[in-house]
Symmetry: C2
Subunit: 243 residues, 2 copies
Amino acid sequence: MELHVAFLPQEIEAPERRAVVVIDVLRATTSLVTMLERGCDEVLIAPGLDAARRYREAHPDVLLAGERGGRQPEGFDFGNSPVALSQAALAGRRVVLATTNGTRAVHAVRRSPVVFVGCLRNRRAAARAVAQEAVGRGWDVTLVCAGREARFSLEDAYTAGAIAEVLLGGGGGPARFRPTDAALAARTLYTTCPDAESLFRTTRAGQNVIEIGLGEDLGYCAARDRSDLVPRVGDRVTLLDDA
Amino acid sequence: MELHVAFLPQEIEAPERRAVVVIDVLRATTSLVTMLERGCDEVLIAPGLDAARRYREAHPDVLLAGERGGRQPEGFDFGNSPVALSQAALAGRRVVLATTNGTRAVHAVRRSPVVFVGCLRNRRAAARAVAQEAVGRGWDVTLVCAGREARFSLEDAYTAGAIAEVLLGGGGGPARFRPTDAALAARTLYTTCPDAESLFRTTRAGQNVIEIGLGEDLGYCAARDRSDLVPRVGDRVTLLDDA
């Protein structure tokens, strides 16, 4: 089976026959893992801010989380800061999440029946989860980077490389997958830089997070293998259509 | 000014206001540099094999070079092997070149008025040429990787990184450019692997070249800074339309 990395969501081929991990490590997929760890019942991924607000008009019980330009949108309960969300009272709540790049990426891969949500904090668990699904079905795996405004993002490629390292047998994992050039490149980006937080600070997304005063999110997002929770679309994670 | 790397030709934004280097190091852009070094009058880049053959029907004096699946097409005078082309009698001739990925890439960036052809053999000269054009106009630079069958190719990303290293001031060059995440990633791929030929052997394109018995092309394409010749579209390099 093949292990591929799509550096942009639009690069994914034949999603209906691939097991997928979606990655927007700064910060949407890290936030999503954190919200489910905090015990929220369900995360509804909205295609935009307006769709999130409309959903709340019809369902006043939900909370709204998300960002535009990195910042908490007006009328929202939370921004997209995983550090802030890690301290929020979310148990038993439903949360609508509307971010820029991560949301688009999850919607872009919706034709895949197996979509996991990955970041550095759950990277080993995410690798195991997608390997199990792919091997059982004889499917290829694609790690899908959200990118940033339709451009390559280094932090997502790095995180894909961290997951690829597990799938390709680094660190004692199984080596059932044949890497594409993109998977080899992502793994190199990961293995040559042990300090994720420093790397994140050099990226456009990381610089934006620092500029808006949320630099402590970078260390949180850069922590590796802290969670065994691997969100899966269709199981406490639901895509909202833009109705 | 910004230095960006488009890992696939379709990623290029606003080509009409960017200075561009197109890269298909295995093997089209290496072959193109080699043909002009051999003194051929003009290289005509055809959008496909049929267009190349039709052009020769109307212009029987031209030579045909190119590949499909890496191999020399029927009726062509040359394949796409730069080693073979480096020994060919091309002085004063016009050559139509029809390859798979490199040709598509050059056609994809045709809206840019400044398109150079780059590879490892001319990488420092290519960096200088594009820097001079961009700085003079105040334009951004994009290094455009041809990719392989619409997918990321490691050897092109590596070569973009080698050119980026010069543009970003490594090796004593000028540092006028602000790198995007993609440019940072490409540079990392380059700086962490000093042995280009070994890296090329691990790539899908490199494996294909070995399989068809042309492995010696890899060492030729991996040699760095051997030529000061930087082909430019519009100057002895012409795009043929598919008429």
